[in-house]
């Protein structure tokens, strides 16, 4: 901004009085001279007054510039101006908010190429997009993830527009950047809550779906079973081969009915019902529900179950949920690894009061940074995950008086394990 210094004289000043008293000259000559002088004087007055008006205008303009500059300095958005000359994108102005948002000092910003200074766009693709937009004389508008000088991430709403001179030539660009990190966080929180709700709804819908499916399938199963059993009676003591086939039909019908029964049991919403349970049976029952998925993914579940384990007190469905969740996670961890097939489920006696259940995979393992967050609500490393599984599993195990943990295996993959107390009355026997 240029400073205009004008020394202003009083407005009403005149250089010569209009009618000066002088000795008489020859009238004509004098008159001519006087007229000339007067004319010149009047001209000067006019000019002077014009000059004064100009100075006034300039003063008003100066005040306006002052106000605008102050406004830019005071704005809470980051405002900056880039020189459009030579395609160097030199920053010629950056207000204090710009410095605050980016964390860089004025001297680290001014005179530097907007795209090259340390706080510039780390993403070259976006830089290129901005440059291209500006070179076409258009305005840029976008949300970017950026880094402050101290490395802190922030979300920035950036708008850059060209400034043109009277001939329409772009001389500068003016940019405004706003820190929208808090806004973004709020949006994400809302998104999370929506996802949670959707999930609960989905589970409800699934339970409903399974229930109606179970009903529809049970009807033909009833008919098939009855037909087969009627035929068995009709062929009594005859046609042993047909009898055998009929028995296979009966068996498979009952197997299908059992699958439905379990499925319905698993999806039923119920209060925890603590009963005496054999953890090995819980595990086998759960695996039988997921085995088609395991086979489809070309994986194998290997059991290393200690058959001599004492009973535990627990809710069968809830413990099945935990086991199912751990197996599903392990399968997903192994999915991308073509050379890992085996998932081991191991049960053992940990000490006199507790049993240990381990689910060990040979998948991608858990990144060290994720270890702590693993069991928190909504933490997920999967693109389509909801981050509910492990947190629900942990609270179930804790409600059973045990605890659920995870660790990476020394070779590869991870092991999730939970410890459960054995039935109290059994402890008297030892």
């Amino acid at each position: 901004m240029k400073n205009i210094k004008v020394v202003k004289s009083t407005k009403s000043c005149s250089i010569l009085p209009k009618k000066a008293k002088r000795p008489l000259l020859r009238k004509t000559t004098r008159n001519i001279l006087e007229d000339k002088l007067r004319f010149q004087m009047e001209e000067m007055v006019t000019q002077n007054s014009k000059l004064m008006q100009g100075i006034d205008r300039e003063k008003v303009a100066e005040e306006q510039i002052h106000i605008r500059t102050k406004a830019m300095e005071a704005a809470s958005d980051g405002i900056f101006i880039i020189d459009a000359k030579d395609n160097n994108f030199n920053i010629v102005y950056a207000n204090p908010s710009f410095q605050m948002i980016t964390g860089y000092a004025k001297k680290e910003i001014i005179g530097h190429n907007y795209f090259m200074y340390a706080g510039g766009n780390s993403d070259l693709r976006i830089s290129g997009e901005i440059r291209q937009t500006l070179s076409q004389g258009k305005s840029f508008h976008g949300e970017l993830l950026k880094f402050k000088k101290n490395g802190e991430k922030y979300w920035c709403l950036l708008r850059i527009a060209p400034i043109r001179d009277t001939k329409g030539v772009v001389t500068h660009y003016v940019g405004i950047k706003s820190d929208i990190t808090l806004m973004k966080q709020r949006v994400l929180e809302i998104e999370e809550q929506r996802e949670e709700l959707l999930h609960v709804t989905r589970v409800g819908k699934l339970a409903e779906f399974v229930s109606s499916l179970a009903h529809e399938i049970s009807q033909p199963l009833t008919a098939i079973l009855s037909y087969a059993q009627a035929a068995q009676r009709m062929l009594k003591d005859r046609e042993p081969q047909l009898q055998e086939i009929l028995q296979f039909i009966v068996n498979d019908d009952q197997r299908a009915a059992e699958v439905i029964r379990r499925l319905r049991y698993l999806l039923k919403k119920s209060k925890p019902a603590f009963v005496s349970l054999d953890i090995n049976t819980v595990i086998r029952d759960t695996v039988s529900l997921i085995i088609p998925q395991v086979t489809a993914k070309d994986k194998v579940i290997k059991f290393e179950l200690d058959i001599g384990l004492p009973l535990i007190q627990g809710d069968r469905i809830q413990l099945q949920q935990v086991v199912l969740n751990l197996i599903s996670n392990s399968l997903e961890a192994m999915e991308s690894k073509k050379d890992s097939h085996e998932l081991i489920i191991r049960t053992s006696r940990k000490d006199t009061d507790t049993i240990l259940v381990q689910v060990r995979d040979s998948g991608c393992g858990i990144p060290e940074g994720n270890m702590k967050k693993l069991f928190s609500h909504f933490f997920t490393s999967k693109p389509d995950g909801l981050g509910m599984g492990l947190s629900i599993s942990r609270s179930i195990i804790e409600a059973h008086g045990g605890h659920l943990e995870a660790e990476n295996n020394p070779d590869r993959g991870a092991t999730f394990y939970f410890i459960l107390p054995i039935q109290m009355k059994n402890s008297n026997e030892y």
């Binding site: 179970a214 009903h215 009833t222 009627a230 319905r264």
Partner: protein, 119 residues
């Protein structure tokens, strides 16, 4: 004379299959695919055990059982349902039914229950 069994189930296939099965046990079986049809053709004091589905359009199984009880009939009723209802078995006994069987129902189990009901 063979014992009479009535089956009320909206699923035609279930009716036919159970009829064939129970006929092989020498029962005489009559099937109806709605409660209304049953009430229209069978009098309250006609002898015979009723195998009753629960989930049906029109009158459902519970309503049918209530109607039979209210009419003063002593007809034995066995509920057979594809639905998994909590405490359905308890509820069936509480409303005066002989028993509750979950579909698909095993032939021998059903016949044993029918024979119990007759005695």
């Amino acid at each position: 004379m063979p014992s009479l069994i009535y089956i009320v189930d909206d699923d035609e296939s279930v009716c036919r299959a159970l009829k064939i099965l129970l006929s092989s046990y020498d029962f005489e079986v009559k099937t109806f695919n709605s409660a209304q049809k049953f009430f229209d053709s069978v009098a309250n004091d006609d002898p015979g055990c009723l195998l009753l589905d629960i989930h049906m359009p029109g009158l459902d199984g519970w309503e049918v059982q209530k109607k039979i009880l209210n009419s003063g009939s002593k007809r034995p009723v066995i509920f057979i349902s594809a639905e998994k209802q909590d405490n359905a078995a308890d509820r069936a006994l509480k409303v005066g039914a002989v028993g509750f069987l979950q579909k698909p129902v095993n032939g021998q189990t059903l016949v044993d229950l029918i024979n119990d009901a007759k005695n």
